[in-house]
Each structure stands twice: as structure tokens, then as C-alpha cells.
């Protein structure tokens, strides 16, 4: 996985989170996921990384595979996936809030 310096947020930029975030907008197949993640996070997921994460998310019931269309299989968020993403984002926001507050207005400007 390659990351642009702006998007390199360490362990928070893990592929699973990026995939869940992308699927929050609606079902997408593999290539569309790569392009969307690239667009909103500046991170290019390789196919090996992408499908490793998709396999894990599917096994954990966070996403589900839909009917394949010409070898391209779309994935969608499950209810559990939606809830997990909400929790993760809320926790990230809490960390971000604390970090920004501690930096102070002068240093975040």
C-alpha cells in the first residue's frame, strides 16, 4: 500500500477502515474501491492488500458480497459494518479533538 504524505495517518489509515469508509456511500467493486480510496484519502491500495482486507471484513460480517457483474463483484456494508465504522470514526474523532485542543488554535491554524 502506498500513501501520500498528507494521508499517512499511521495505524488509523489501515485498509479496512478506508474500505468501510468507501462502502459507506454505497456498494462498490474492487477497482472502484481502489479509485475511491485514492480520491478521498490519497492512498493507493494494491490488489493484494485490498483483497486481504476484503476477505477479513467479509469473514467478520462487516461487509457482504453482492452478485458478480462480469467478473466484478460489488461489496456493501452490513449493519454490523456500519456500526463498527461509526464506532471507529467516533473514536478517531475523539482522539483528533484532543490532539487539536492540545495543539491550541495558534498551532492548528
Amino acid at each position: 500500500m502506498t500513501r501520500s504524505p498528507e494521508a499517512d495517518t499511521g495505524r488509523f489509515a489501515e485498509p479496512s477502515l478506508l474500505i468501510l469508509t468507501s462502502l459507506a456511500e454505497g456498494p462498490r467493486h474492487g477497482y472502484a474501491l481502489i479509485k475511491d480510496v485514492e480520491a478521498f484519502a490519497g492512498v493507493t491500495l494494491g490488489p493484494g492488500t485490498l483483497y486481504g482486507a476484503l476477505a477479513r471484513l467479509e469473514r467478520r460480517g462487516l461487509i457482504r458480497a453482492l452478485e458478480a457483474e462480469d467478473r466484478r463483484r460489488p461489496y456493501e456494508l452490513t449493519q454490523a459494518g456500519s456500526a463498527a465504522l461509526s464506532r471507529q470514526l467516533a473514536s478517531m474523532r475523539a482522539v483528533a479533538d484532543v490532539g487539536l485542543r492540545r495543539l491550541g488554535p495558534a498551532r492548528t491554524a
Partner: protein, 312 residues
């Protein structure tokens, strides 16, 4: 098929690195994505190929994520079901030992010879510990099954009532046999009646165990309940091994300290004591070995899952 998405030799070669189960599920999709990505940016060919190789290594290491494989809690549940079946066999062997040693002569020997009495105590308390471990492990499972049975799962309801119904039927048979005329003691009718009770006991044990194991397999139990089974299974394994070793010590000590009783025909159904002892010991050893193996598998599955989770 869209001809633009046809996999090249490189793509097919890379996909061959993945485990078969993984390929069956994902190969077509990954091939389509790889072809599209390589067409997008041919300059990153080496980096993309490396990413796929790393993905294949990951898929081989973390086989629990492979499509079609049972999830970790289900694999622990299967191990617990195996251990439960082994425990049922252990109980049958233990019942045979108990029936033999309830004779006053064995009780007296246990009181007068320290080593025999000590091993007998280990068998008794080990069996109680094993039973408590089974209760601790099966209680949340039974509650889960009962909840679903009451919520309308007819199959679970039938499976859940099978053990008590079979038990009542056995008690009725045993009660009927006690009402028979027992003179002369070794008449054909008496022997046939006793054999019928013993055979029926084994059938009831098998039916009850099978029904409960089937119900535990069919019920939608919460993952933590299934995952936590490794803990009582560990206690059960330790207790069963302790009882088996104590049974071995008991027999060897009886042979050395009370040879006349050891060589007598005070075993089950008036068979020689060594025959009953060796049979119960062999069954206990088999049941203990199966339980230890199932427990090791359950612990291994839980540990592997923790390692997978921590590695993402």
C-alpha cells in the same frame, strides 16, 4: 466476459500463489482488478506484483480468513462438542468402575491400604471436578439453546427434550426389571433383563449425548459463549487425565496389595476384576486423549485468531 478484463500470464501466475480455497472465491475478481490496475499504471508493475505476492503470503499465514473455512468460534465449538462426546464415554467407563467398587470388599481395601484409598479419592474428586467443568461449559450453551427453543425453534425443542425422555424411559425399564422375580439369581430371564438394562443405559447415553451435541451445533450461539469453551475444556482435560492416572495406580496397587481381590470375579456382571479394570482404564485413557487433543486444538484456534487480529 469483457475481453479487456482477460487475465494475462503474469496475472494468472500471481494468482497461482494463493491458497486454493482463496482462489476459488476471489481469483476472478482479483484478476479483473489486476488487469485494470496494470492497464492504468504500467510503471508500477513491480510494486503491484509485490503487493499481490505479499497478499498471497498473508493468505497462507492467516488461513482462518480463507473463504469456506469455519470461523474461530465455530471451530472452538466443534472441539467442545468432541470433548463433550469424549466426556460421555468417560462417564460410561467411570460408571463401570463405580459399580464395581461399590462392593464392600473394595471399600474395605480402600480404607486399609493408603495407596488404594488415596487413588480412589483422586478418582472421586477428579470426577467431581470434571463434572463441574462440563456444567460450567455447557450451562451457557444450554441456556442459549433453551432460549431459542422457547422462541420457536422446533428442532431445538425436540433435541432438548430427548435426553430427559430417554432417561425416564430407562428408569422405567430399570424399575420394571427390579420388579421381576429374581429366583433363581442366574436364570436366563434375570441375565437377559440385566443385559437389557445395561444396553439400554448405553443407548440412552448415546442418544442424549448426540441430541445435545446436535442442538449445540444447530443453535445460533453468541460468539463469546463458543469462544470461552476452551477454559472449562482445559479444566476438564486436567481432571480426566488425573482420574485416568489414578485409575491406573488404583489397579496396580490393588494387584500388589490385595492380589486375591484383584484376581477374583468381582468385576462387572461377575467378570474378573482385571477385565473390568483394564476395560474402564482403556476407555478413560481414550476419552482423556481425545479431550486433551480437542482442548489443544481449541486453544490453538483461539491463539491463532488473537495473533491474526493483532496483525490486522
Amino acid at each position: 466476459m469483457n475481453p479487456d478484463l482477460a487475465p494475462t500470464r503474469l496475472v494468472r501466475g500471481l494468482l497461482r500463489l494463493y491458497p486454493v480455497g482463496w482462489r476459488t472465491r476471489f481469483a476472478d475478481e482479483v484478476a479483473a482488478v489486476l488487469v485494470a490496475v496494470l492497464a492504468d499504471d504500467g510503471r508500477r508493475r513491480a510494486r503491484i506484483a509485490l503487493d499481490v505476492v505479499a497478499g498471497a503470503i498473508d493468505a497462507h499465514i492467516h488461513r482462518s480468513f480463507e473463504p469456506g473455512r469455519k470461523l474461530m468460534p465455530d471451530r472452538v465449538r466443534t472441539s467442545a462438542q468432541v470433548a463433550f462426546c469424549a466426556f460421555a464415554l468417560f462417564c460410561i467407563a467411570g460408571t463401570g468402575f463405580q459399580k464395581m467398587t461399590e462392593d464392600m470388599r473394595f471399600q474395605t481395601v480402600a480404607r486399609t491400604h493408603d495407596a488404594i484409598g488415596w487413588s480412589f479419592d483422586v478418582i472421586l474428586y477428579g470426577a467431581i471436578t470434571a463434572a463441574l467443568c462440563v456444567v460450567a461449559g455447557s450451562l451457557p450453551v444450554l441456556l442459549g439453546i433453551a432460549k431459542q427453543a422457547l422462541a420457536g425453534r422446533r428442532d431445538l425443542r425436540c433435541l432438548l427434550v430427548s435426553p430427559p425422555v430417554a432417561g425416564v424411559a430407562w428408569f422405567a425399564l430399570a424399575f420394571a426389571v427390579t420388579r421381576l422375580d429374581h429366583s433363581p439369581q442366574h436364570s436366563l430371564v434375570n441375565v437377559a433383563a440385566v443385559v437389557a438394562v445395561v444396553v439400554a443405559f448405553h443407548v440412552v447415553a448415546a442418544v442424549s449425548t448426540g441430541a445435545l451435541v446436535l442442538a449445540a451445533g444447530r443453535a445460533d450461539l453468541p460468539a463469546p459463549v463458543k469462544r470461552a469453551q476452551w477454559l472449562p475444556m482445559t479444566g476438564l482435560s486436567a481432571a480426566m487425565v488425573a482420574v485416568t492416572v489414578a485409575d491406573l495406580v488404583w489397579g496396580l496397587t490393588l494387584r500388589a496389595e490385595a492380589p486375591t481381590l484383584f484376581r477374583s470375579h468381582n468385576g462387572l456382571l461377575a467378570t474378573p476384576v482385571p477385565a473390568t479394570w483394564v476395560t474402564t482404564l482403556a476407555l478413560m485413557a481414550l476419552a482423556s486423549a481425545v479431550t486433551v487433543a480437542a482442548t489443544a486444538r481449541a486453544i490453538g484456534v483461539v491463539r491463532a485468531d488473537r495473533a491474526s487480529a493483532s496483525l490486522g
